[in-house]
């Protein structure tokens, strides 16, 4: 007799017994030991039919191929730039990946990016030893100028972006700021200084309340109150 011991969306902690019985599949972040399935990290239980998995609520970013992240140049070498990725692993931006233009070897690389610059870059490769390559070739990859950068939990990035970018669109429309959310949990906001602050506060609110329902409606109301403007609201994500 299979029995779920936790409800869907419940907060569970490492080692918590989640399921008793053999006919449920232990999904990501859970493990089976004998008759039972246990939690392998702190997270939200997600039950889908006969599968249980956990959605992590915390933890630092680990680079993954195809992620678009915000990185910071911390060193320049003969072959390119070294980039901090807000994780345990730094990345290499090779000359060849430095941008759409050809950069000759031996060129003064500070002409392109200097130490301290923040870049929106794409992760192109991560080896098993976590050696990370990033690129600046591609649409929407560029050097950031002005604005402010702050960090959020990388686990909350999907909620901050929203379904098809709905949440970020809401923030942009309400405040007129440019907003970029890197998969690595760094966020860039640029616009009117007072509005930048509102965006930052709104994002930390999303971060705190990301596992609640009706988030889009709440954020619309919050932004209307803070900006004193009516916020256009398209389709809500309804979660």
């Amino acid at each position: 007799m299979t029995q779920f011991l936790v409800e869907n969306k419940a907060v569970v902690v490492p080692g918590e017994r989640l399921v008793e019985g053999m006919d449920v599949v232990a999904g990501p972040n859970t493990y089976r030991d004998g008759d039972a399935i246990y939690s392998e990290r702190l997270g939200l239980a997600a039950i889908d039919g006969r599968t249980i998995k956990l959605i992590p609520l915390s933890g630092r970013y680990v680079p993954k191929t195809h992620d678009v992240i915000i990185g910071k140049v911390f060193n320049i070498t003969m072959n390119g730039w070294q980039i901090e990725t807000n994780s345990a692993y730094s990345a290499v931006l090779n000359l060849k990946e430095g941008g759409s233009d050809y950069i000759p070897r031996g060129d003064d690389l500070t002409k392109y990016y200097r130490v301290g610059d923040y870049l929106v870059c794409g992760v192109v490769n991560v080896t098993s030893q976590k050696l990370v390559d990033v690129t600046m070739k591609g649409q929407n990859l560029f050097k950031l100028r002005g604005g402010r950068i702050f960090s959020v939990s990388c686990n909350k990035v999907p909620r901050i972006i929203g379904k098809q970018g709905s949440m970020v669109s809401l923030l942009k429309e309400a405040t007129g700021c440019k907003v970029i959310v890197g998969q690595n949990g760094l966020v860039w906001v640029s616009g009117d200084p007072a509005m930048e602050l509102i965006v930052q506060k709104a994002i930390s609110k999303i971060e705190r309340e990301s596992h609640l329902s009706g988030l889009t409606e709440k954020m619309s109301a919050y932004l209307e109150k803070e900006t004193g403007k009516k916020v256009f609201q398209g389709e809500t994500d309804g979660v």
Binding site: V11, V13, P14, G15, E16, R17, N29, Y31, D33, Y38, E40, R41, L42, P56, L57, S58, G59, R60, V62, S87, A88, Y89, S90, S128, Q129, K130, N155, K205, R208, E209, H211, L212, K218
Partner: protein, 239 residues
Amino acid sequence: MVYKTRLENRGFDQARPMEAKVGVIKRADGSAFFRFGHTWAYAAVYGPRNLYPKFLQDPSKGILRCNYNMMPFSSVGERVRPGGSRRSKEISMVTQKALLPVLDLDEFPNSVIDVFIELPETEAGSRCAGITAAAMALADAGLRMKDLVAAVSVGRVDDKIVVDLDYSEESYEGGPVADIPVAVMPNSGKITLLQMDGIISPEQLSKAIGMAKATCVKIAEVQRAALKEKYKASENNGQ
């Protein structure tokens, strides 16, 4: 001789009042506080993060470093001189060994997870409070853990086997004493820390370890509740 009553009429199998809180140090990736009576520990986790010097790196997995430190004013008697003592170095080492069995650090080659344990006030049992706090902080940091770790000191005071010795019991002069810090993985009951100072018979030891396991199950409940409280509290802020 007979050991009759404990301070504050505590039962022989009863730990001092416990208190736990998660997320107490904002800058850390994970943090927690744990208290047995007048012994309290803060623990903060940073990482996975870069590890230098490079020769310390392990290319197959992340490493765990623990540091146990008593604040200079944390002891009833004289000021504790800052900087590691032989005692604190040994405790740091056994703490690391106590926590490592539940962690899976394969995802983080060449990196380090740092655990810092600080004690502002101590009255016996400080390594156990530190390990218990550290396990919560590791869970809060989102690390992959198959179980929590809970720790308590058990032992013998004269003719009695007792749980969670206080200072008066550690230094009891009316008969033989043994002090046995034990850390347990609560699900499996496996033991990850065992030390002993004093004189005890094998039969008494076996009984003491049984009591430690039972107490650690209770401690784990306190740990779980505190972890859930943090993520539930963030829900309530949103109302």
